[in-house]
């Protein structure tokens, strides 16, 4: 069967570039016409991690994901997923856009939305049949939403809408998932459920990349951290990267926010935390 935009590779082109990495971004610069919103991004995310992209509002987190997925055309630089161009790796990528990016009054049911995740695999002219339905129902069950399959999406709570979006990504059966703020505006119970689903994916060997807003939970949810503020501030495994100094550099002059973060950052540390002023540690996360 033919999917949408079947990849075509010219023979002289080197097929793979950094195939050992789930995501490889090199020299990426993006501008919406004015000053660059992403500046010279070099980024590597290994396979099988649960990675957080963290940074203040307007840092370019959504833009980074969109340029990785080819939704925004960069001024410079390139992106490889499992060593492939996005178009070639597309079938291995799952995407959960920011919830606010669609009209939730759209006349579709939760099940309809989840089935949209299968359209790419179906290709042109084929309609989702009984098997697609069953797959979508199974994904809804995975996120605990099977009872809401035939609800119109505007009649779902914010957390339920978010879970429907995640179910749509699950049916994509991808190897790497990009989620833009999946935990925004959901209650603690739903957040735990979402994190559990994402951890299951990671434990099954998938790579999960999440735009995340809550600094408090970075260490308990994630094992890889990318701090972004137009440039890459730091990246690496969470224990080395999640430092007061790095956070201060990422969040710049936003003192109030830092003061809030200061307490939990220093206090409930289980092991001896490297001193944030340690110069060696400062660069630990830098690539």
């Amino acid at each position: 069967m033919t999917g949408w935009r079947e990849p075509v590779r010219s023979p002289e082109e080197p097929a793979l570039h950094e195939p050992g990495l789930a995501l490889h971004v090199e020299d990426l610069t993006v501008s919406y016409g004015g000053a660059p919103v992403l500046w010279d991004i070099d980024l590597d995310i290994p396979k099988g991690v649960m990675a957080a992209i963290v940074g203040p509002n307007g840092a370019g987190k959504s833009t980074l994901i969109k340029s990785v997925l080819g939704l925004v055309r960069p001024v410079a630089g390139h992106v490889r997923i499992f060593g492939l161009r996005y178009r070639e790796a597309r079938r291995r990528v799952g995407y959960v856009p920011q919830r606010s990016s669609v009209d939730w009054d759209f006349p579709v049911t939760a099940l309809d939305v989840v089935m949209m995740g299968l359209y790419g695999r179906l290709g042109w002219f084929r309609r989702p049949g009984r098997r697609a339905r069953a797959e979508a129902m199974a994904a809804l069950a995975q996120v605990g939403m099977e009872d809401y399959a035939s609800r119109q999406i505007s009649q779902l709570s914010g957390g339920q809408q978010q879970r429907v979006f995640i179910a749509r990504a699950l049916v994509q059966q991808a190897d790497i998932y990009f989620l833009d703020e999946p935990m925004a505006g959901v209650d603690a119970t739903t957040e735990r459920a979402i994190v559990a689903i994402l951890h299951r994916l990671r434990d099954a060997g998938k790579t999960v990349v999440v735009v995340h807003h809550d600094l408090q939970t970075v260490r308990s949810y994630f094992d890889w951290l990318v701090l972004l503020n137009v440039r890459i501030i730091a990246q690496g495994a969470v224990p080395e990267t999640y430092t007061a100094e790095n956070l201060r550099r990422a969040y710049g002059g936003q003192i109030a926010l830092l003061d809030q973060q200061e307490a939990p950052l220093v206090e409930p540390v289980p092991e001896p935390e490297p001193k944030p002023t340690d110069p060696h540690h400062l660069e630990a996360g830098q690539s």
Binding site: Y95, F106, P107, T109, G120, Q152
Partner: protein
């Protein structure tokens, strides 16, 4: 006049078929236009068709539908491109750009139309009917042209149904999944332009946008599936189109556009008011029912609590106490609860005032409510 006799008339048949085609294609593509928040684009495209109609007339030298519609389509497309360029190159927002382009193209159209009418000519009489539409001017051959355009558009929508659905709902996800979103956007815009072209002769450039927007708005009220919305919009479009066009053709001299628009407006009005789940009246009634249900529960729970405090399951509570406790007159609520067999009025001598107590059924209900934690105070 007898409607069946009307349908036997050759002219009226022609008009009815044309109007049905217009209603169907307007409803289907209008649903996409409205869901994509492109209602204003339809208005601009239809107004921008006027200069094209005039140019088509000048080019063909006669009132020949194919060239008129080709002209309409071309200037419509030019207007759409102009809007895109303005939005891309200036700080103007889309709605402002649409408004500017609409005015300019329509003004040019009116100037051309006036010129043509002044120079006179055998066929120019039909041209001004493109302003508000004229059903009686339709020929059987016109129906064939309209039918081919409508058929092509509907075929495309059917063939690429799931792609159009996805790109309309979630453009970013569609693009990430590999859909050529720009091409699909273009296809939808072109088809909306086609739908407008189909309707120009019947409804006219000024009111054509109503045939795009109104059926979709009405249909959206009644269902929460895209498939059903599209079919219902087509149905509403057909009903309004046929009834309006036939009325106008039968009562010679009535401009068709306004009559059709009145018909579809009536459907919209009814839908906005009455549709279950979304209609204004329906929502108001549902809210009132919900308020009553809540008040009923509260009064029931109050009676239950009073009975508990007095260690008397059949404790007769004075109505004044209940009123004071809820800060409102409770007679209506008590009456409804009584009708459900949950409470019963009792006299409590020597006090002359009315008293109420729970029935055993009411007590069970109150216990359920209290234990399920649904009590709100």
């Amino acid at each position: 006049m007898n409607p069946l006799a009307l349908l036997g008339d050759y002219t009226i048949q022609t008009v009815a078929i044309g109007a049905a085609l217009l209603g169907a294609v307007g409803g289907v593509l209008g649903t996409f236009a409205v869901l994509r928040r492109q209602s204003l684009l339809g208005d601009t495209l239809s107004h921008a068709a006027l200069p094209g109609i005039c140019l088509g007339y000048l080019w063909a030298g006669a009132r020949q539908l194919e060239s008129l519609l080709a002209g309409a389509f071309l200037t419509g497309a030019l207007a759409a491109v102009t809007v895109l360029v303005i939005v891309g190159r200036s700080r103007l927002k889309t709605d402002a750009a649409l408004g500017v382009v609409l005015s300019v193209f329509f003004a040019v159209g009116v100037v051309l139309l006036t010129r043509i009418q002044q120079t006179g000519g055998a066929g120019q009489a039909g041209l001004s009917s493109f302003l508000f539409g004229q059903a009686a001017a339709m020929l059987r051959g016109d129906v064939v042209v309209m039918g081919s355009l409508a058929g092509a558009a509907l075929l495309l929508v059917t063939a690429f149904w799931k792609e159009f659905k996805l790109v309309t709902f979630d453009r970013d996800f569609a693009a990430a999944a590999g859909l050529p979103v720009a091409a699909l956007d273009l296809a939808l815009t072109v088809m909306i332009a086609l739908a407008i072209v189909v309707g120009l002769q019947l409804v006219g450039v000024v009111l054509m946008t109503a045939m795009i927007v109104a059926p979709a708005v009405a249909a959206r009220q009644w269902t929460h599936r895209l498939e059903a919305t599209v079919l219902l919009a087509a149905g509403f479009g057909i009903v309004a189109g046929v009834s309006g066009a036939v009325t106008s053709a039968a009562a010679a001299g009535l401009a068709t556009g306004p009559v059709i628009v009145l018909a579809i407006s009536a459907i919209v009005l009814v839908s906005l008011l009455l549709a279950p789940g979304r209609g204004i009246v329906w929502t108001a009634l549902a809210a009132r029912a919900e308020r009553r249900r809540l008040r009923g529960r509260q009064v029931l729970l109050t009676l239950y609590r009073l009975a508990k405090e007095h260690h008397d399951p059949a404790y007769p509570a004075e109505k004044g106490t209940l009123d004071a406790y809820h800060g409102t007159e409770t007679a209506g609520v008590l009456g409804r609860l009584e009708a459900e067999g949950l409470v019963r009025p009792v006299s409590h001598p020597p006090e002359p005032t009315p008293h109420w107590k729970l029935t055993s059924k009411g007590r069970e209900r109150a216990e359920d409510l209290a234990s399920s934690g649904e009590e709100r105070r």
